[in-house]
Symmetry: none
Subunit: 153 residues, 2 copies
DNA sequence: CTAATTTATGGGTAATAGTGGGTAATTATC
DNA sequence: GATAATTACCCACTATTACCCATAAATTAG
């Protein structure tokens, strides 16, 4: 049955109507219960992140556990929800990403879509290159720490 | 019966449709649960590495333990999944390796496939020769250090 | 040594993916 | 409420990929 996870990297362009293609591979990896929709929101980097609708529902459940009294909890909940937009892809597999999201990722025309197993990242190619040259750099210490992290638990 | 590990070296060429043969011996070494698919990605050297789908699923499980908040964790996960591509071989035992992966290994036409027990390396013949003459050289100290490494644990 | 089987390679064809655009339906604007 | 703008839905074309069949070389079996 192949994999139900998102992997690999794909490049597309936004057409004149503001539509971007979603890799067929990713569309197929969506469970039926996600009803052909991804939830796209701001990423923590200068990018966008998309989840399957299912995964987003899980996230909502987690957010509901937060306190409505504590200001930090409210802020976190607000931040996570505020920009989240469910997008159903059309019969050709494309979605129209709202302009205010594109702006956050500095996307104008070209787009790089990266599979991250349980989520999807959407980048402007130039921004991605900039991050590769700086933020992404991991030294031996980082890698060892991460290695320990995955092995424990 | 044979072994379920990958050993030996094989040479093939990429055909006009971009397909490369996978040694029959390696195909047979794949467990049924891997569904005739390897996951190919960038190697740490100027080469490509392929795992059985099973082995890749294990890697995914580890990567899913990482924090989605910590930038180093995200970077590590991104780096690991970005170029990972599951390839199912056709009824003749061939796979079509995506161009951006071939480029990383500087592969144009000829290919050397090397069994590495639990993984497979894919090289351009000329690049491999270059590495043999430089990077691969091990002196007595290196070998002793490795011997100690394998004996401990 | 010869026949049978498997492996490697080539290529045809149908199906799918990606891209562009038309038009009706919906929503927003005045 | 009429008009404009946006969105949703549909159809069409091209390139790529997946799937199938065929053959030659190599390997194995008898």
């Amino acid at each position: 049955m192949g994999t139900k996870t998102f992997t690999g990297e794909f490049r597309y362009t936004i057409d004149s109507k503001g539509r971007v293609n979603i890799p067929a591979k990713f569309r197929k990896a969506l469970p039926d219960t996600s009803e052909d929709t991804f939830v796209i929101t701001r990423g923590l980097d200068e990018n966008l992140v998309a989840y399957s609708l299912d995964k987003w529902r899980q996230k909502e459940d987690e957010l509901l556990k937060l306190s409505s009294i504590k200001p930090e909890h409210r802020a976190f909940k607000r931040q996570a929800t505020r920009f989240a937009t469910p997008l159903k892809f059309d019969s050709q597999g494309r979605v129209a990403i709202p302009p205010y999201l594109l702006k956050h990722a500095d996307i104008e025309k070209d787009v790089v879509i990266i599979g991250m197993i349980d989520e999807i990242e959407i980048w402007d190619p130039a921004v991605l290159v900039r991050y590769e040259e700086t933020e992404f750099r991991l030294d031996a210490e980082d890698i060892e720490a991460i290695d320990n992290y995955t092995r424990s638990s």
